[in-house]
């Protein structure tokens, strides 16, 4: 601490501070002011022009398929479209059991469930599923396919009930966006050359196949450590940023549960597991502990009110899982999922279908 240094330093522009008037202004020539005006206007004009051009490029190319321009094939994969097509392909023999949830439940094996409860099982999990997705999916299967659903397995976590703050700038932020601009350029390049093969796909029963990761696992070269590092910092804010669960989403979920139980459908709701390192990061850097507590409390309330089975498998200790049986911080591999299903499915199901 140097006592001799001045208390505050001010911009080195020659003006006196705190006088309320800039003495330089008197000396400044009219042409100098004109230059400044022109400079500012041209900088702002160029910036605005550049941003509008980028927005137009992203809108027209639409690399995420958000605006439906359809000029260039979207680059992103959407489970929603693929699963709808797969379900429509089952119109002849519609499913009797559905798995609902996000990408975290996509590796729940329909085959294992079919063995336990019988019938036809479809994994209808979709990426970034929210509470409001469940009832429309169930209605689609029932009404379009005429399916008689007997069993439902639903995976939920705090993101299912996230507050979903309305973002009035979503269109702007999605179009004037570095990531989208790169995707647009890639999209154009692929359209002019050749599209690469997708790294993921679904079986006919909706079960997810990670083509590359599963091949790496088979070859013994899968690098879980790198995946964890990449995914933890990415997922922590998404799973623990909110300070509470959305009451609207909770109400929507209750409506769904009520409807399901009113139709006599057997229901099992569970919280899918996080990798222990993710749990540790969530606890130290997010509001996850409060969110998880609130979610578990709410699920327990609904379970006793509507008589369904509820399981908190958010930590692997709850079902005897292993930390190396993960694809990344939040996506369990089938080995962990089989342990989950062993606990989740009843030994002698009340509605087993032959």
């Amino acid at each position: 601490m140097n006592r001799s240094s001045s208390v505050v330093q001010h911009p080195p522009d020659g003006s006196e501070r705190g006088t309320g008037a800039d003495p330089d202004a008197k000396r400044r020539s009219v042409s100098g002011i004109g230059e400044d005006v022109g400079f500012v206007i041209k900088v702002l004009g160029l910036s605005l022009g550049g941003l509008v051009s980028i927005a137009l490029l992203n809108l027209l190319v639409d690399p995420e398929g958000s605006y439906g321009t359809g000029w260039v094939r979207p680059l992103v994969w959407s489970a929603r479209d693929e699963k709808r097509e797969l379900l429509l392909g089952m119109a002849e023999s519609p499913p009797t059991c559905l798995i609902l949830g996000s990408s975290r439940t996509m590796k729940l094996e329909p085959d294992v469930i079919r063995t336990a409860v019988g019938g036809r099982v479809f994994n209808a999990s979709i990426e970034e599923a929210r509470a409001g997705d469940f009832l429309p999916t169930l209605d689609f299967v029932r009404r379009r396919l005429g399916a008689q659903i007997r069993w439902l397995i639903v995976g939920v976590d705090p993101t299912t009930f996230e507050q979903g703050k309305s973002d009035p700038f979503r269109v702007v932020s999605h179009t004037v966006n570095y990531h989208h601009a790169i995707m647009s350029l890639r999209s154009i390049t692929y359209a002019l050359t050749r599209y690469p093969e997708s790294a993921i796909g679904f079986n006919k029963d909706g079960f997810l196949v990670y083509k590359k990761d599963d091949a790496d696992l088979q070859a013994g070269v899968f690098d879980l450590e790198a995946k964890l590092r990449d995914s933890i910092s990415w997922y922590v804010p998404r799973h623990g940023n909110d300070r509470g669960l959305s009451s609207q989403a909770l109400d929507t979920f209750e409506v769904f549960v009520k409807e399901v139980r009113a139709r006599g459908i057997e229901l099992a709701v569970y919280e899918p597991p996080y990798h222990p390192r993710m749990i540790e990061a969530l606890r130290s850097r997010s509001h996850y502990p409060e969110l998880h507590e609130a979610l578990t409390r709410e699920l327990e309330r609904l379970a006793s009110l509507y008589d369904f089975r509820m399981f908190d498998f958010s930590e692997i200790e709850a079902f005897g899982g292993r930390p190396d049986w993960f694809y990344d911080a939040i996506h369990p591999r089938i080995e962990n999922n089989r342990l989950i299903l062993a606990r989740l499915l009843p030994a002698s199901p009340p509605h087993a279908l032959q």
Partner: protein, 464 residues
Amino acid sequence: MLFNSFVFIFVFLPPVLAIWWWPGLGRRTRLAVLTGASYVFYGYWDWRFTFLMLLSTLVDFGAGLAMERSRSQGMRRFFLVCSLAANLGLLGFFKYWGLLATSLNAVAAGLGFGASFPTIEVVLPVGISFYTFQTMSYSIDVYRRQVGATRDFLAFSAFVSMYPQLVAGPIVRYVELAEQIDRPRQRPEWEEIRRGVELFLIGLCKKVLLADAIGAQVDRVLETPDLLGLAGSWAAMVGFALQIYFDFSGYSDMAVGLGYLLGFRLPMNFNSPYKARNISEFWERWHISLSSWLRDYLYIPLGGSRKGHARTLRNLAITMFLGGLWHGANWTFVAWGLYHGVLLLGYHSWRRAHLPVPGPRTSMFLTFALVVVGWVFFRSDGFGMAGILLGRMFGLSGSALSPAGASPALLVLVGAGCAWCLIAPNSWDFRPPKSRLSMVALALMAILGTMRLEVLRPFLYFQF
């Protein structure tokens, strides 16, 4: 509301500036608009916190008037104590209650007592550390008769809440802004507007293009500090040193730029701190408004360097302890402050003993290395992580020169960031000429900065 957000840049700022610049508007109307806009800016996070800011404003405005009207020194002191108690009480409750309660519980448990202090979850209002220090400085200055108490509540509210510097500084003193607020100009000169735009864009790019990019790599690497090698751990911590510098100085540049757009001159907060050649110089260049606040309202009142070497060292230690605590309710911040206190003690003792000083480049390098070591405490979640990182950085883990954990992207960013800090002029000294090249460069900065706005990473200093 964040400066690096669409809502601030495209929705909040244009109408506020348009009204502020509107010809013919009276002083009081413009101050009311500025105050109202600043409350909207602050309330965008959580409207309930605006009442805290209003309370702090009312307390210090009232304390200032009461002190000025008091005839006895005792009464003046009484009103000053009321102001300090209210401000420190707010700060203590919202920022330090959790730390105090958990620490007392740990001590009680250690001594075998079952006493349990309630550890209620208190949400930290954004920027409370900044505006309480700002209002306290006003009361202290009035008490010291260095500034007259204002009778204009609107002007005082505008001073406390002024959105450019509200949530993360610079910590502006009333004496610095009093005349500017008393006589706000109708519209800044075009040269000032140009300067404001330049500084805002420089700050925006420092934040979203440099700090956030480096921060993403650093976060990734520090997920698993126990896997880092010697070189990797240094790369990570140098990366954090760059991240926090670009983040905070970027915010300050934006704040000063926004001040220019309103016609206000805010003080400099950073002066290329990593070019410092000793630790004392570092503190004259880093977060200048805080270090000068601590110097004038804490270090000097404690006796400064006037009462012998031993007292000087004690005063430095107390000042740096509280400076560390100001940064956050965690003992790691206290450790960071004390570490810098020890460095300052060492530096002053070294100078006093007239020991030889290395050349300028070596001094700069050593100072930077010492500062980087200090950032370990600042960045770590707890002493466990700090211990692991320090062990890795000083080769105690037997990892030799292993770059394990340091990604090529981090190494490139660290290299580029270091070069920037050592070579590039400070934002305040950087005056791009009015050429076409500057025009295109600034437009490009605006475009690239805006394209990275979507990833909303709050400024690091918002948590303090």
